[in-house]
């Protein structure tokens, strides 16, 4: 109360503290209340809802962008997987083709080898036959020569005993023996 009294005094005398000049209090309080109500209405009706919506919208946009980025990342991962798979497939395909080619070549090679073997076998069989024939004819000649020689010998040594068939027989016997 003492300060109030002082204030009232100060209001009377020019300097003092204008803050304690109570005659201006109703005026200040009135205009303060008007000001506060106006600011409150402006904030509550316009400014704050607008800023809140802008902030939440931004939040939403950021969340959406992050989700989109996540999705794109997933897609990139999928693409990488697909690429890897394609690469692996291509490798497998290449290996398969190589194996096929190898098998085919092997088959051809086998066939050619077999054919060559068969030809060689045929040729060698023919040669064998020819050798056999030559040998047989040589034997025949030897026999004939032996018989002729034997007969000539018998004739020269013992003409009486000349008996061609017996000589032949003896020669045959000898040759066989």
């Amino acid at each position: 109360m003492a300060t109030e009294a002082q204030g009232a005094e100060a209001a009377g005398n020019a300097p003092g503290m204008p803050q304690l000049d109570f005659s201006t209090f109703p005026n200040q309080i009135f205009w303060l209340l008007v000001t506060l109500v106006v600011i409150y209405l402006v904030l509550n009706k316009v400014a704050l809802p607008r800023i809140a919506s802008v902030l939440s919208e931004r939040q939403g946009t950021i969340a959406n962008d992050l989700a989109a980025a996540e999705e794109l990342k997933g897609k990139a991962g999928e693409a990488e997987e697909a690429y890897k798979k394609a690469l692996a497939d291509a490798r497998a395909e290449a290996n398969r083709i190589i194996a096929d080619a190898k098998a085919e070549i092997q088959k051809d090679l086998d066939a050619a080898t077999e054919k060559a073997d068969a030809e060689i076998a045929a040729k060698s069989a023919e040669s064998e036959k020819r050798i056999g024939e030559i040998r047989a004819s040589a034997m025949e000649n030897v026999e004939a020569v032996a018989k002729d020689t034997a007969i000539e010998v018998v004739r020269a040594v013992l003409p009486a005993a000349e008996d061609a068939s017996a000589v032949d027989k003896a020669v045959d016997q000898r040759l066989k023996g």
Binding site: P15, G16, M17, P18, Q19, L20, D21, S23, T24, F25, P26, N27, Q28, I29, F30, W31, L32, L33, V34, T35, L36, V38, I39, Y40, V42, L43, N44, V46, A47, L48, R50, I51, A52, S53, V54, L55, E57, R58, T61
Partner: protein, 250 residues
């Protein structure tokens, strides 16, 4: 000022800037008279509208500068209430935002040369503090009923001490609006008065005025900081009182 100095004796009137005067002449200040208080409060309202309404009219996802400032202010107070008073304090966000914006613009606009500082008046800060005090007390009783009184009953203290503490708590509770208002008003008034005193020296010193001018620049920088800090302090104390009302149990 210079002529006064020549006239003999330095006459400095640091309090003249706080006088409430009718805008359109006359001596009598009735409750409805448009005064310099009215003018500077209107400018405060305009500043609030320019920052928060015109500044955000783009509603841009990537904000412009003014929209950024508006959003930062919004986020600053929003975060403060949530941190101090908790989620249920956010219901009172528009009221606290109103207080903060009025004080921060009142303080900073008052720093313009020849401006009238609305927040340097006890009538203004007293009403602001009383509004907070009454509102918070009403909220306390409406939300908690009689158990709001447990705010004064420090259950953590030994039983014998509690009545003593209750008296102290009660006194401190009722002193709150006084400290709340006088802190703001005192800070604003003192800073402006000091600047005015130095300005008076500058007028009186002629060429030597360079020293008071440098001092004014330094104090002005300090006052800009004080303008924001006091608005912040007033608002955060409001949040603290609100927290006491919402959660009175220690």
């Amino acid at each position: 000022m210079a002529t006064e100095a020549e006239g003999g004796g330095i006459k400095i009137d640091p309090m003249g800037q706080f006088v409430v005067e009718p805008l359109f002449g006359g001596d009598h200040v009735a409750w409805y008279t448009p005064t310099n208080v009215t003018l500077w409060m209107a400018i405060t309202v305009l500043a609030v509208i320019v920052l928060l309404v015109l500044g955000t009219r783009g509603r841009a996802i990537v904000p412009s500068r003014s929209q950024s400032v508006a959003e930062l202010t919004y986020g600053f107070i929003h975060q403060m209430i949530e941190d101090v008073a908790g989620k249920d304090g956010l219901k009172y966000f528009p009221y606290i935002m109103t207080l903060f914006l009025f004080i921060v613009f009142g303080n900073t606009l008052g720093l313009l040369p020849t401006a009238f500082t609305t927040t340097s008046h006890l009538a203004v800060t007293g009403v602001l503090a009383l509004l907070v005090f009454v509102t918070v007390t009403v909220i306390g009783f409406v939300k908690n009923g009689a158990s709001f009184l447990s705010l004064f009953w420090v259950s953590a203290a030994p039983l014998a001490l509690r009545p003593v503490l209750a008296v102290i708590e009660l006194i401190s509770y009722f002193v709150r609006p006084v400290s709340h208002s006088v802190r703001l008003m005192g800070n604003m008034m003192a800073g402006h008065a000091v600047i005015k005193v130095f300005a008076g020296f500058a007028g009186a010193l002629g060429l030597g005025a360079v020293f008071p001018v440098v001092a004014i620049v330094a104090i002005y920088g300090l006052e800009v900081m004080v303008a924001f800090v006091q608005a912040y302090v007033f608002t955060i104390l409001t949040c603290v009182y609100l927290k006491d009302a919402l959660h009175p149990h220690h």
